[in-house]
């Protein structure tokens, strides 16, 4: 009986195998040649580029001022790219007077116009590159081209346009983004969108309000988060109105934004929000109360220390230990809650802030009655409630280090 290999052989596999060998070896050789050629080409390219960057750097002031006529380099794409990169890098790191000079240069040399043209006419990665570069220039004349790209069918182009507009960071750019969102809904990733809006709405957060009222639930959620980041005390009454909104994201945003408001009424509203049924609203409210740093907030924070959510408890504890001059009285109130989880959270925050010894010392000198002082010192020392009611949920492990 003939072997499998012999059968294959009779079917003339030799020819096939031989061709395959030649093919595979040819591919090996081609791959090798490609690697070697590409490497040597790139080596030469970068050597040339480095040398040119050095030359241009020597003439930088003359280039910027126009002493060297723009026509001498702007038609050479190799030089133009280098100069644009150098100018944009310098622009992003420049102080106000320098950036005005660089922006003037980018305009008068036609670099911005060139990028606007590319952003409108090119496709694929070249277009994306132009869109991002336009954003980096922060020139308002780039807004229409960026705005057009927001309506592109290619999601990557939309993302690049969004990043570009976000980099511009102006209310005009925000208007374009908001207008487009109202028109087409949220069809880009949420995080870059929020970042872009945060950058653009910082100066004038009011522009978000009208869109917030008209937007659908998904967009409202996005805008609410942005508002939470950019809201200023000037929005006071609108923020308080939002604290009653049915959308939890908006209530959370209101809570976050209220951390920038004047204490007083804000503490009251945040106190209400710290009892919200939704955990992340409570969390935002507790963080915001902490930022207000007002003693009127302490009862709300003590209450939040008994929250069912671990993160809320942790943030409440962190906020409470910031009231350093009130620590003994706060600790006494914490112990009175008789909440084991709350106490653990408070002690963890105390340890993280390296305040345990200080509290110990202050308790010893405090005006508490002897009995209460001893109780508080005992709780602080052993890290447990004395004669506590044991909570029923999974028990946090005692991790006091020996």
């Amino acid at each position: 009986m003939a072997s499998g290999f012999s059968i294959l052989h009779r079917l003339e596999p030799s020819a096939f195998v031989f061709e395959a060998i030649v093919g595979a070896i040819a591919v090996d050789v081609l791959l090798l040649a490609f690697i070697l050629l590409r490497r040597s080409y790139r080596m030469r390219y970068f050597r040339k580029r480095d040398a040119r960057v050095f030359e241009l750097r020597q003439q930088w002031d003359a280039l910027i001022s126009g002493e060297i006529p723009y026509e001498t380099w702007r038609t050479k794409s190799f030089d133009r790219r280098i100069i644009e990169d150098m100018a944009l890098d310098a622009f992003e790191a420049a102080a106000a007077d320098q950036s005005a000079r660089l922006l003037r240069f980018l305009r008068t040399s036609g670099l911005i116009e060139k990028r606007i043209f590319e952003a409108r006419k090119l496709k694929g990665w070249r277009r994306r590159s132009a869109l991002v570069a336009l954003g980096r220039t922060r020139a308002p004349e780039g807004i229409p081209a960026l705005s057009e790209a927001l309506r592109d069918l290619d999601p990557e182009a939309r993302n690049a346009a969004l990043r570009g507009l976000g980099r511009l960071g102006s209310p005009e750019a925000a208007e374009e983004i908001l207008h487009w969102l109202a028109e087409s809904g949220v069809n880009v990733p949420v995080l870059p969108l929020q970042n872009a809006l945060i950058n653009c709405c910082r100066e004038r957060p009011q522009i978000l309000l009208s869109y917030l009222q008209l937007a659908g639930p998904q967009l409202r959620e996005v805008l609410a988060r942005v508002l939470g980041e950019v809201a200023s005390p000037s929005l006071g009454s609108e923020l308080i109105g939002m604290a009653d909104d049915e959308l939890p994201e908006l209530r959370a945003a209101a809570a976050r934004a209220l951390s920038n408001a004047q204490p007083g009424h804000a503490v009251e509203v945040l106190g209400e929000l710290s009892r919200d049924p939704v955990w992340f609203v409570r969390l935002r409210a507790v963080v915001a109360i902490g930022k207000l740093y007002d003693t009127a907030a302490v009862p709300h924070l003590i209450n939040a220390l008994t929250d069912s959510n671990r993160l809320v408890r942790m943030r409440a504890a962190e906020a409470l230990v910031d009231f350093k001059s009130e620590l003994p009285s706060i600790f006494s109130q914490v112990v009175k809650t008789r909440d084991r989880y709350g106490l653990h959270a408070f002690l963890a925050a105390l340890e993280n802030g390296d305040l345990r010894k200080r509290l110990d010392a202050e308790l010893r000198q405090s005006a508490f009655s002897d009995g209460e002082r001893d109780l508080l010192l005992a709780v602080l020392s052993i890290g447990k409630l004395v004669e506590t009611q044991v909570a029923t949920k999974s028990q946090p492990i005692e991790t006091a280090t020996r």
């Binding site: 052989h9 990665w125 991790t399 280090t401």
Partner: protein, 471 residues
């Protein structure tokens, strides 16, 4: 009967080898395309802008350390210096018997803290928690050893406070922008991306200064260079291509990012798992498919984690045997996912591939060598055809290896030295014999050890991340 058996065996070997290489060739083509797209995409995705974002999701880095006194200072300093706006670093001292904890205490001014530690996922007993006075982002968990990295990671998972956890090996070195890069898929699609893997590269031979990589060089030892090619092939071709179809089943334990809530929801790492990283990803797939959730587990080829590879045959053999044990240990509990419609392409493609072309590879290849020898002894082997087949197989496999080097050259170009690239390409021709056969023997040993119930594991000898200069 014996002749017929040899016929079938030789046919099987031929088609097995052909289909395995064809699969890799397809993967290479996919990877070349997607890497180019990724490179273009990242150009318009300015990483520095992420660092300025107030909404960048916080990350907790979990670094389990067991007897790492030589390198722990440098590697943790390295982690704390990573570019990311919201970072927490948790080092888990997993019952080290050396001075790992003392080294950390000296370097980072640790002080004991009493804080909430809820054991949501099981782990061994915690001995103490320490917060750094020099960098409050650092928390150290000192725990009893349960003999597995999985248990240590679980302890860290319980203490993590961020929505994303990134698991790293304490003896590895992350490039400074690694976290920014690994977060790119998450930022682009936070609703669906639940896990992201980065690339692991071999540190041996490179120059390190003050815990930072000063110059990337190819290792000097042949065994290490061959591992470089293996890693390039596995990551830049294999994982890149599998991730395109959302079928990536392994995110390396040395560097992977996951959504914290999901890892907790599936009970963290399986403490007894041998290949805990593979096991975790397989269970994540299962959990999310069974819940009917849309999700993506992605691979990004540019966030780099550098790690030390074994430099002698004994250590390498132990490592590979263990990896193969881990493979079997994860595939067996998930055998019910095979060819079930519910599990889609994971059940129909990814898992069968692993069974056939990874798990059974040593059995089939070593068995194949024996049947060829037997066929030759019995005069049943066409010598001409055999030689042609060998040459073809060799050339085809070399195409794949050079393809991996090409992929590296086209995209990430970490080896800037001409000599290194020339050596890398040269070794593509020499890795098939006798390394490949030796590798198969180690893998077969792994299978044998698993079947004997030998789950023991000796940690690899590491030189640590002290400053080194290439000769």
């Amino acid at each position: 009967v014996i002749h017929h058996f040899l016929d079938v065996a030789n046919y099987t070997l031929f088609f097995y080898y052909l289909s395995g290489n064809l699969a890799y060739l397809i993967a290479l083509i996919i990877a070349l395309k997607t890497s180019a797209a990724h490179q273009r995409r990242i150009e318009s995705f300015r990483l520095r802008w992420i660092t300025e974002s107030p909404l960048a999701p916080p990350i907790t880095l979990l670094a389990p350390a067991h007897n790492e006194e030589k390198s722990i200072r440098v590697s943790i300093r390295n982690l704390l210096e990573l570019d990311y706006p919201e970072l927490e670093v948790i080092v888990i001292n997993d019952g080290s018997k050396d001075r790992t904890l003392e080294e950390l205490q000296d370097e980072f001014k640790l002080r004991p803290v009493r804080m909430v530690y809820v054991q949501e996922v099981p782990s061994a007993e915690i001995r103490g928690l320490y917060r750094s006075d020099s960098d409050p982002r650092l928390l150290v968990i000192d725990k009893e050893s349960a003999g597995s990295k999985a248990d240590a990671v679980n302890a860290g998972l319980n203490a993590a406070t961020s929505p994303y956890v990134c698991i790293v090996d304490a003896d590895s070195m992350l490039e400074r922008d690694s976290l920014l890069r690994i977060m790119v898929p998450v930022l682009a699609d936070p609703k669906h991306v639940v896990g992201v893997g980065g690339i692991i590269r071999i540190l041996n031979g490179s120059e390190i200064e003050g815990g930072q990589l000063r110059r990337v060089r190819l290792p000097r030892k042949s065994l290490e260079v061959i591992q470089v090619i293996e890693y390039l092939r596995a990551f830049l071709i294999g994982r890149e291509a599998w991730a395109q179809g959302n079928m990536m089943l392994i995110i390396s334990g040395a560097f992977g990012l996951f959504r914290t809530d999901l890892v907790r929801a599936i009970g963290g790492y399986r403490a007894k798992a041998i290949g805990e990283d593979f096991d975790l990803v397989a269970r994540l797939h299962r959990h999310l498919i069974e819940k009917g959730q849309e999700y993506r587990i992605q691979f990004v080829p540019d966030p780099v984690c550098w790690t030390e590879a074994p430099s002698d045959l004994k250590s390498l053999g132990r490592q590979r045997a263990r990896w193969h044990k881990g493979l079997l240990d994860t595939l067996l509990p998930n055998v019910d996912m095979l060819f079930r419609r519910r599990y889609g392409r994971i059940g129909f493609l990814a898992l069968p591939y692993l069974w056939v072309f990874e798990l059974f590879a040593p059995v089939i290849e070593i068995g194949g060598i024996f049947t060829i020898i037997l066929a030759a002894a019995l005069g049943d082997l066409s010598r001409d055809f055999f030689i042609q087949f060998m040459i073809f197989g060799y050339a085809f496999a070399t195409v794949i290896s050079i393809g991996a080097v090409l992929q590296e050259e086209l995209t990430y170009k970490r080896y800037s030295d001409w000599q290194d690239v020339a050596r890398l390409v040269t070794y593509c021709f020499f890795e098939h014999f006798p390394y490949r056969q030796l590798h198969m023997v180690w893998r077969l040993q792994g299978l044998w050890q698993y079947m004997r119930g030998d789950m023991s594991w000796k940690p690899l000898e590491r030189k640590g991340l002290q400053s080194t200069t290439a000769p």
